[in-house]
Symmetry: C2
Subunit: 218 residues, 2 copies
DNA sequence: CGAGATTTTAAGTGGTGGCTAAACTTTGCT
DNA sequence: AGCAAAGTTTAGCCACCACTTAAAATCTCG
């Protein structure tokens, strides 16, 4: 089970999360940053490993086994992020890259020891839920900030961990998962969003509001 | 810089430690458990990377760059062993295998954070010295237990970390690096050695006494 | 000096993971 | 329905890595 296979499983899982439909080859290829042909070939490999089923021309889905692989990698990733930040004091915006490598290298034993050391947490520092060791995950339904409307109030629960710039930007301004917010204003045509966190109103642009997710109150 | 390259550098360094002479291809091949031809090819690769110099038919030596690579990997390995044992409570006899994998995966930043968390230790749990971040190591001259004679007293400083059985055996009997000892008796023909640790005399066989190393008193 | 040991070269294997180009299927529009 | 565009798959290829066996080269030591 090579790194690449694990990465594809993770990517398929991740893309399949929202829409519970098969994942298209091109979406997968774009996510992994390879050509569609390469993604197609890899998907075949996952199928031959029993990790995915595919309907040619209609997309891939993970089998339960494939989902387990994906969730295990995701568990490793999120535990590592939390551990690096918490136990080793690594800045929030650098843990992702490190976890991306280590997630493939740590044994089950170490990952469980890390989970224990952290008190078996349920969410990582970005607000993402951590799958359990037996391959379960509960995803609370969240909405992208870009979908919200003025007057909406709730909790900022997570932000994509893939872009260090965004993380640094947010943490520089003291905005962290768990913070309550209220949408103040929304400019039309994908314009910026004015959001109040505490007493400060921040104006957040498009890419950012697509990466940030909220649980609405009520 | 692939894992294999790092492993070869580490092996050459390790084999070159004792006798400060070039390392033979066959010794290297045996250490890595590959054919001599494979080792020969890899050595060429190290040379082309500027990590080693070789005198065909007369062995390899690491360049300063190669030594740095080796020492960095060794540093990672030993810090990880210590960290896994100390911070995550992993048993002494299992840390080696895990460190063998992770040593290639952790970044400099994480390894320095681990070193800090451990208080910048100088020795790992097996008693092996830990190279500094800038590629220095001080190796106190030690002698194998199998070379010692009755009446010799000193400190048990280290034991090869490669064999979990030995580690378990020793720790089960409460024998740990740092312990003082006295050689009580030595049977001829590579027979067992009687060694006093504290008030207990242990009879230790051949392979074990070759893996255990001592600093003699005086 | 020459036999035996060691080392190197030569040639080839199998796996991974990627690519382009061309062929094929689906979709969506008229 | 028909057709073009978009999306997907296949075919054929490449590069890398790390290893192998077999044969040739070199060294060493009696």
């Amino acid at each position: 089970m090579s790194h690449a296979v694990q990465d594809y499983a993770k990517a398929i899982w991740s893309l399949g999360q929202r829409s519970h439909e098969p994942v298209s080859t091109s979406a997968l290829a774009e996510r992994i940053a390879v050509s569609p042909a390469s993604a197609s070939a890899m998907v075949k490999r996952l199928e031959s490993l029993g990790l995915a089923t595919r309907e040619p021309y209609h997309g891939v889905e993970l089998t339960r086994a494939g989902e387990r692989v994906a969730l295990e990698v995701v568990r490793h990733h999120r535990l590592l992020e939390l551990y690096l930040a918490q136990a080793l004091g690594m800045p929030w915006d650098r843990v992702h890259a490190e976890a991306e490598v280590l997630e493939h290298a740590i044994s089950e034993e170490v990952s469980e020891r890390i989970a224990d050391a952290l008190g078996n947490p349920t969410h990582d520092p970005h607000g993402d839920p951590i799958p359990t060791a037996d391959g379960m995950i509960e995803e609370a339904p969240t909405r992208a900030f870009s979908d919200l409307d003025p007057g909406d109030v709730g909790t900022f629960v997570r932000v994509s961990d893939a872009d260090p710039e965004m993380l640094r930007y947010l943490s520089d301004r003291g905005i962290l998962p768990g913070d309550a917010f209220e949408i103040v204003e929304k400019e039309p045509f994908e314009g910026p969003l004015s959001v109040r966190f505490g007493d400060k109103v921040h104006v957040l642009g498009g890419a950012l509001t697509q990466a940030m997710r909220a649980e609405l109150r009520g």
